[in-house]
């Protein structure tokens, strides 16, 4: 069992960002790396029942933002929250804070236990509730004020019009934090909240490096070979398929097969090779160009 730190408001570890917010917690409980509390944080929040698009985007934003040295804060819920944490951990030396609505020693929901264990080791688990506290439904909106309070900006990836994420946004506005939202299909109910936020003045994130661009961080340029025209480490057939994917982003394997002159088996093999070489990625059966 790792040590549970108790951080009073007077303690030097207590994050400055939380001192100024309305109804600041008197005491925090934490497991993990306390130095993260001194770093600049970005919150990534969104629906628990996200679409594949939302999960993908959350993970990418988290990874790119974490790569720049920012800490990703979220609530360890399923869906977007978990994708945000995972994206941060994907980045080399990426760091993340999970703010819980239970005691810091309790993993809720239990389905995220493996993620919880990783964050305890490599990141920070934070809570204003003492160890052993079981979840209560009114703890969650309370907890959300810490997620926004810790962060410089709150990124909403996917949210319906009535959503816990919008509670976090309200806290962020009260605490004078930036709010950013990922635009989505106007037909998707899970993008309605985000699109509405943008209409109301939230900063729209038009790429996964949008957070960094907003704060003028150095953004790493995508590797030229991958999105550019030439691809040095590809064979002739692989180049044909790569060109095909570039012209038809987001198609299924069957749709590509109808455009590909060779046999379907060969195409399947080449797609795997391209996936292994990180040119393309597959999400829910569709094939996309990697490194958006």
């Amino acid at each position: 069992m790792s040590e549970i730190f108790q951080i009073d408001r007077a303690a030097p570890e207590f994050p400055e960002s939380l001192k100024g917010i309305p109804r600041a917690p008197k005491r925090l409980y934490a497991i993990g790396d306390l130095s993260l509390l001194k770093k600049e944080c970005i919150a990534i929040v969104g629906s628990r029942r996200a679409t594949p698009y939302g999960l993908e985007v959350a993970r990418h934003i988290a990874r790119q933002t974490a790569e720049a040295g920012l800490v990703i804060v979220s609530g360890l819920a399923g869906g977007i929250d978990a994708a945000g944490h995972r994206g941060a951990l994907d980045a080399p030396a990426g760091q993340t804070i999970a703010v819980l609505a239970t005691g810091p020693d309790i993993c809720y929901p239990a389905s995220n236990r493996s993620l919880y264990n990783v964050i305890r080791k490599c990141g920070l688990v934070l809570s204003e509730y003492p160890p052993g506290t079981a979840p209560r439904n009114y703890y969650f909106p309370e907890r959300n004020r810490l997620i926004s309070g810790l962060s410089r900006a709150v990124v909403v990836v996917e949210a319906d019009l009535k959503s816990g994420s919008l509670i976090t946004v309200n806290w962020a506005l009260q605490q004078n934090r930036d709010v950013m939202a990922v635009p989505g299909n106007i037909t998707s109910s899970l993008s309605r909240g985000c699109n509405r936020l943008i209409q109301d003045g939230a900063w729209p994130l038009l790429s996964s490096s949008g957070v960094l661009e907003y704060y003028n961080y150095e953004t790493e340029k995508p590797p030229a070979g991958k999105t550019g025209q030439a691809a040095a480490d590809l064979g002739t057939d692989e180049k044909v398929v790569w060109k095909l994917v570039r012209q038809n982003d987001g198609k299924t394997a069957a749709e590509l097969a109808s455009l590909y002159p060779g046999p379907a088996g060969q195409l399947a093999g080449i797609l795997t090779v391209l996936e292994l070489k990180a040119y393309i990625r597959l999400t829910e059966g569709k094939i996309y160009i990697a490194n958006i």
Partner: protein, 506 residues
């Protein structure tokens, strides 16, 4: 007066010889059957008494004792009627013992003396043949199902009177001996063709791989993607059965179908499609006297489980042993029976409970928990036994309109047959006949890959998080893909294609 007649008793799909001994003694008239007869055999005496009388013979007014030897195994089935009746008539002097002793008998009697067809005529005939009893008197309706046996003399009869007259020499005995046809071209129904499935070429290819190596398949896709359509066409690309396989499937038909309903061997591989409410006992076999289940009825064919996660957990878990052992042992109070169960599992499922996850234009409202619960209904050990997972997505309108059939059943089947013949040549000295049946030792022996292949697998191992079991599946699949390509060695492209068919979410 004493008489003995040969017949057989069914033990699952095997048969053992049974002698029917009859003794007539003075005393209070009556008939006793001993030798562990079950209800159906005990009732035989009522049918026999009436049938003998209505055939114009005398039922002896004696104390009759019938013994079914060996007396320590249970006898069941109505096929004991005819041998008991004949043995009684021999004992009472209506039929000469010497002639009757040269035959074995099976058949059920009706009260008017007609002979009705029986269940399990084929395994009984095979069991008797093994004991070198090559002359069998049997019901005429059972003739088609034993037509695969070429080395025994069959004497079909329609009534007890006919049998008695033939045996006593009043009528000519005429044997039927079937000839082994040279690979009869069977009029197999081919009204389902893969060319009717538009725009699903990768899935067709994957099914050809499955058929070539007899790999178990899971088709995963939303409603309307064509899962059932593809599955229904799958048996069409399986190679024709050889003699042994035809015999095995006929035996199972013989013991499981309505007696005498078989119209003979059709050469069509079984395609079993149990409903998802099926119980474990129906799926793997069971019942008071152990009956073959769906896994056995699908022997040498396809077991199609549509909507796999909707099946009961107990039923799915019961599948594990038959998939692994290729046979199933059903144990009940009245003994245990081993049935063959060598099938290709073909299953379908949706990506989520509502079915529409990831489909453009459809809102999927399933939560992560719901999806996980749905997918968890298929346990890890079961998924481990499925070699190919095929993702299917609905085809866009333009493509449907564009037509273009792509690969046809005939073409795919030619590829599959070619790959199968390569395998049987390679495994001529092994018990494994197919790539999917390779043990881990045999995988090392036959699925050798080069240095670049190892590197590719290593990358995949890291990137896709392959398990050790998945690693072996990929090797077996790659072997099949290489065979489809008529390639001796497994190339990197074969490996890469095999990796495409891995399971993405377990």
């Amino acid at each position: 007066m004493y008489a003995v007649i040969q017949t057989g008793a069914l033990m699952g799909i095997d048969a053992e010889a049974v002698s029917v001994e009859t003794d007539l003694a003075n005393g209070l008239p009556g008939m006793n059957i001993v030798g562990l007869p079950d209800q159906s055999v005990r009732e035989a005496k009522e049918r026999i008494r009436t049938a003998i009388r209505n055939s114009g013979y005398v039922f002896p007014l004696k104390r009759i004792t019938v013994n079914l030897a060996p007396a320590d195994s249970r006898k069941e089935g109505t096929h004991f009627d005819l041998p008991i009746a004949i043995s009684l008539m021999v004992a009472s002097g209506s039929i000469p013992q010497k002639r009757a002793a040269a035959f074995a008998f099976i058949g059920e009697l009706s009260l008017d003396g007609r002979v009705h067809p029986v269940r399990g005529a084929l395994p009984l005939a095979i069991g008797l043949r093994r004991l070198d009893m090559r002359r069998l008197v049997l019901p005429r309706e059972n003739l088609p199902e034993v037509s695969l046996l070429t080395d025994i003399e069959l004497y079909p009869v329609s009534s007890l009177g006919e049998a008695a007259r033939q045996l006593s020499g009043e009528q000519d005995l005429k044997a039927v001996v079937f000839e082994r046809e040279q690979r009869r071209q069977l009029p197999v129904k081919r009204n389902l063709d893969f060319s009717e499935v538009l725009g699903q070429e990768p899935a067709k290819r994957a099914l050809a791989v499955a058929a070539a190596g007899a790999h178990n398949v899971l088709l995963c896709g939303p409603p309307g993607a064509g899962k059932t359509m593809l599955a229904a066409r799958f048996p069409g690309i399986l190679p024709e059965m050889d003699y042994e396989e035809r015999l095995e499937t006929m035996i199972i038909q013989s013991i499981s179908q309505k007696p005498g309903s078989s119209r003979g061997e059709t050469g069509v591989r079984p395609f079993r499609q149990p409903h998802h409410t099926v119980s474990a006992a129906v799926l793997v076999g069971g019942g008071h006297r152990p009956e073959p289940g769906e896994v056995t009825l699908a022997h040498r064919g396809v077991l199609f489980l549509d909507e796999l996660p909707e099946f009961r957990r107990s039923a799915l878990e019961a599948l594990r042993q038959p998939i692994e052992d290729r046979r199933v042992t059903v144990s009940r109070l009245n003994g245990s029976v081993c049935y063959p169960a060598d099938f290709i599992l073909l299953a379908t499922m949706n990506p989520c409970p509502c079915g529409y996850r990831g489909v453009p234009g459809k809102e999927c409202a399933c939560t992560e928990t719901q999806i996980r619960r749905y997918r968890n209904r298929i346990s890890g050990p079961l998924i481990d036994r499925i070699d190919l997972v095929i993702d299917l997505w609905p085809v866009q309108c333009e493509e449907l309109a564009a037509g273009g059939g792509g690969l046809t059943t005939a073409e795919l089947r030619r590829q599959v047959e070619n790959a199968r013949s390569i395998q049987s040549e390679r495994y001529v000295k092994n018990d494994a006949q197919l790539n999917s049946r390779l043990s881990s030792g045999q995988i090392r022996q036959y699925c050798k890959i080069g240095a670049s292949g190892k590197l590719l697998l290593e990358q995949a191992y890291r990137r896709f998080g392959l398990s050790a079991r998945a690693y072996q599946k990929v090797l077996k699949l790659a072997r099949t893909i290489a065979d489809l390509d008529s390639s001796v060695s497994i190339t990197d492209l074969h490996l890469a294609e095999a990796l495409r068919y891995r399971c993405h979410y377990v």
